[in-house]
């Protein structure tokens, strides 16, 4: 058993695990943060997407020990002190979720996408950037709509702040 220490959603958290423990299982089972999901075995569905050191990653394909020392944001910590992050709010407003299972990964992906391409997203770009996330319920229509709306909303927020 190895001790893994992470800063998760702003808090330092530690736990013991086998070296073969995947980060997603560590987060779900050791830290009790079950919002991050597992939907496949082949690094494809994106239900497990979190942010590690500021970048979106698939926590099903990283060992917890590999991540030790890093800073993690999961869906539970995304909104911080607010009720909902603008991306979460946009998903609700535009019905960008149905069963909710892929949703945490979709939202974390959308936030990362907006972080990298903020203000310049198009429908085509959003669809291409969703390459690593599978949704079986929504046909992506409203997810795309929600991400574009959140991007516009956050861009106007940035403009107002400047």
């Amino acid at each position: 058993m190895t001790k893994v220490t992470l800063t998760v959603n702003g808090r330092t958290m530690s736990g013991e695990c086998e070296d073969r423990t995947l980060l997603v299982h560590f987060i779900r089972e050791k830290l009790g943060l079950t919002g991050t999901h597992v939907g496949c075995d082949t690094t494809q569905c994106g239900a497990c997407v979190i942010h590690m050191d500021g970048r979106s990653v698939k926590s099903c394909s990283i060992l917890a020990v590999q991540a030790s020392g890093s800073t993690i944001t999961t869906i539970e910590g995304l909104a911080g002190q607010s009720e909902l992050h603008p991306v979460q709010a946009a998903f609700k407003e535009h019905h960008g979720l149905q069963c909710g299972f892929c949703t945490p990964g979709m939202v974390m992906t959308a936030v990362d996408m907006i972080n990298r391409h903020g203000g310049s997203l198009t429908e085509e770009k959003v669809r291409a950037e969703l390459d690593g996330n599978i949704c079986r319920c929504t046909g992506y229509h409203n997810i795309v709509k929600a991400i574009l709306a959140a991007d516009a909303e956050m861009a106007s927020g940035r403009q107002a702040a400047e």
Partner: protein, 265 residues
């Protein structure tokens, strides 16, 4: 996943030493293939030596037209490098279409080529560019490095530390995705380099990445998609699977080559 022991290397020397201490060990870079394979219990290294925290392995440096990419540089960094894009946009474009955004944040160039998946993108890029693969003990040409399916010239315990290449005059990459895995069902990298035209094909060959001499000759005399019109693609050494049989792949090789030329300009 079978049980394994994790070691975090702090330097190249440290990594090599750790690796030599564990006969059944494996280097772990981004892990985007290795961890997946281990999850499916198709690989069972006793030990993993993590290279992601070795600063010397990370980053892109450019001197004149000579490019050096550290082995642990993630695909996203290659895709986003403005300096590299100014010199060789094709390799940035190639990197920007590997896997998905999350995979590109973790996966590294060294990990990709050391694995030499027959459907991976980088092997085509590096073979097409005539790149040099630098290891902890020697330098190898891409022609010598990529040997076959998941097979390279790397010796036991040998570790890729960087790849280097001279920026080509022109280069382009076009790939046709497998609809399920999104790996290259066929990807073609074309480059006009100081030492001649090079065309490398991934995703299609039953022995992994390969060069296409017919295309290279045709393009050497006429750098245009039209030059490929009458060059045939032999389907006998191409992969056949559910999504693409050899005949269809032969067609894709040609179409992607034409599109790579168009992308190269």
């Amino acid at each position: 996943m079978y049980a394994t022991s994790y070691h975090r290397a702090s330097s190249v020397e440290d990594a090599v030493q750790l690796r030599s201490a564990h006969e059944e060990g494996k280097y772990l870079s981004g892990g985007m293939t290795l961890i997946s394979t281990m999850k499916q219990r198709l690989a069972a290294p006793s030990d993993l030596i993590d290279l992601r925290h070795i600063p010397a392995l990370r980053g892109i440096s450019i001197e004149g037209r000579r490019v050096k990419i550290g082995a642990a540089t993630p695909h996203a960094d290659v895709a986003a490098s403005r300096d590299l894009r100014a010199l060789c946009p094709a390799i940035c474009d190639l990197a920007s279409h590997i896997g998905d955004p999350h995979v590109r944040h973790m996966g590294t160039i060294g990990g990709s080529i050391a694995n030499n998946d027959p459907a991976a993108d980088y092997p085509a890029g590096l073979l097409g560019l005539g790149a040099t693969i630098v290891t902890d003990r020697r330098s190898l040409s891409a022609d010598d490095f990529f040997v076959g399916l998941f097979e390279t010239a790397l010796e036991e315990g040998e570790m890729v530390t960087a790849v280097t290449f001279d920026a080509p005059e022109k280069a382009g990459y076009a790939k046709f995705n497998n609809p399920a895995s999104r790996f290259a069902m066929t990807g073609v990298f074309v480059a006009k380099t100081a030492s001649g035209v090079r065309v490398a094909v991934t995703g299609a060959g039953s022995d992994g990445v390969f060069r296409h001499p017919g295309f290279e000759q045709a393009l050497a005399s006429n750098w245009s998609a039209d030059a490929l019109a009458n060059v045939s693609v032999d389907s006998s050494n191409l992969l056949s699977d559910l999504h693409a049989n050899a005949e269809y792949r032969a067609n894709l090789v040609k179409v992607m080559a034409k599109r790579a030329i168009a992308a190269a300009g």
